[in-house]
Symmetry: C2
DNA sequence: TTGTAGGCGTTATCAG
DNA sequence: CTGATAACGCCTACAA
């Protein structure tokens, strides 16, 4: 690939002059400008961004760290982030932590080795003082997306509040028993549970892990064998809700009559399901936009301002499953 | 971020010595090695990959160009590619062409500006002599994924053959009318159509575009209003199949009795649908593996060998929708 | 075993 | 308006 120095030689000018031309600086004689441009075009010159950023300028690279791009929610998020970053001339190195805290850390160091100008991370750990600290002593600005992290710039929806919204909706729909499928410590569950308590259903909530499909299936079979109230099921995300719906179908549990199912993330296929999946929608586009903009801002003001913790509104998307 | 030169100053040695230590080269006095390592650890030294690659060595960056990560197929593909690349110490810059040929070209030049060691591309254009040429005169190795491109390294499944498999399956299932939803020029359609012709259904195949949902809905309504044979519908991808299923449900067309639907890509949510979506599965993991390995190989042998055109087997995944 | 010198492709500074 | 020159962080000779 041709370099400025080579163009300089071909055009019989000095290399800095070539630099001036290619960067569109003023104060270059028109004829020289033309000569250089012609030569650059002819050889399809491309800037060497790496060499450029050696001078202390920006790399124009963003590190984007998600737990799993194959989850449509993160796929959508990555897409929006890429589109948003592109507006500012940024490209994105994508890292997949695979829900692995160890790899999350590794990728953070890889991102630094590439001298990315900043990192957008959807951190795995929900409540991580540890994560905050490891991020804070980093010399690269980091914005957390989807999760609140105290003392770190972050853009997120309030999971507590979302859980409460779900609880309220399910109570209104007349469900009398409740099930949360996901991690017991999650903020969604906390909000769900506490709102149900306020509604007088405090002792009718249970929680079970989602990880093992067979186990989950067995659990639901037992649950619905005993005659009981109509059950509102809230899952940690839509993928999990899909599995639940599929299990309920196998068990012959009618949805939404006997069981209501509400997911989280409102992935795009939800509306095409049968029954359509009710879900909590996060404003992905807005999150991406705000997160990128905050990150770029932070690059210029590394320490100055206090962390911005931006809570965005979640929205209930009610379809046939509740 | 601390540099080798600074460590050198702090440890009272020369910068190349620091380089030797940090790169684990032999012939360094143990005590100096310790001193340097201690200092590096203390200040959390990280290599500057960019500076490294200025010397002509590799950037350890791969450009990955897809049309739309938010399509689960490409999301899965990106994920597998990332995992595979990581094994060789490579990171991935992700580009989203958004099915836009113009942006595809732009991203190719951006990739070059970053001096990526190679590019994996799922090209938009199905039959592009133009694309081949633009890629061939690139100074960076490119491997096409998912599409065959003559004269360019590529890893793909044979869409013609896949289309034929679908035709055969649908004929066996007793459908007597056929519909392809997608671009008329696509290889899938060609294979579908020609196989149907061989089966004596040559004049019972139609094709309609998928782009406009309302239009598609109107088309299907008209189609199913007239009493006709049972119809086998083959869609260009699973996302499209989802929309079709949803429209058929609205129209009250029973699936698979009156209409059979088969998608393409076998995205993971397909099995959770109701009815479960029949589809053509592409071996994503294998494709990623082969494509990355081919790309790395090509880096070491830029021109030597002829292009590898690797056709991988597609597989019919039959569920309740056919 | 260690240090010095040069270069990778740029940009910035300063002199002419 | 243009060209030397130094610098960015690192590596690879080569010299001591």
């Amino acid at each position: 690939m041709i370099t400025m120095t080579e163009i300089a030689r071909l055009a019989h000018v000095s290399q800095p002059t070539v630099s001036r031309v290619l960067n569109g600086k003023p104060n270059v004689a028109p004829e020289i400008r033309e000569r250089v441009l012609a030569c650059a075009r002819e050889h399809d010159y491309q800037f060497n961004v790496l060499a450029k950023s050696l001078q202390g300028s920006r790399t124009q690279l963003l590190g984007v760290l998600v737990s799993d791009v194959s989850n449509s929610f993160f796929a959508d998020l990555s897409k929006q982030i890429e589109a948003e970053a592109r507006k500012y001339g940024y490209s994105m190195i994508l890292f997949n932590s695979d829900y692995n805290v160890q790899r999350e850390r590794e990728y953070l160091t890889v991102a630094r080795q590439y001298r990315v100008d900043g990192v957008l991370a959807a951190p795995v750990q929900e409540r991580g003082a540890e994560w905050r600290e490891s991020v804070q002593k980093l010399d690269i600005p980091v914005v957390a997306v989807t999760q609140r992290v105290e003392g770190v710039d972050c853009v997120y929806v309030d999971h507590m509040e979302a859980g409460a919204m779900v609880a309220k909706h399910m109570a209104e729909r007349g469900y009398g028993r409740f099930l949360y499928i996901g991690e017991e410590q999650s903020a969604k569950y906390a909000g769900f549970r506490s709102a149900l308590a306020d509604l007088g259903h405090g002792d009718r909530v249970e929680c079970t892990a989602s990880s093992d499909s067979r186990q989950l299936s067995a659990f639901l079979e037992t649950w619905f064998r005993r005659p009981s109230y109509r059950t509102g099921i809230f899952t940690e995300n839509d993928l999990c809700a899909l599995r639940v719906l599929s299990i309920l179908r196998e068990l012959g549990v009618p949805v939404p009559r006997r069981a209501g199912v509400m997911g989280f993330d409102n992935i795009s296929v939800g509306r095409y399901l049968n029954p359509g999946l009710s879900s909590v929608s996060q404003p992905i586009g807005l999150m991406a936009e705000q997160a990128v903009s905050r990150l770029l801002h932070r690059m210029d003001h590394p320490m100055g301002e206090p962390a911005l913790e931006l809570a965005l509104p979640a929205e209930l998307v009610v379809r046939e499953s509740t």
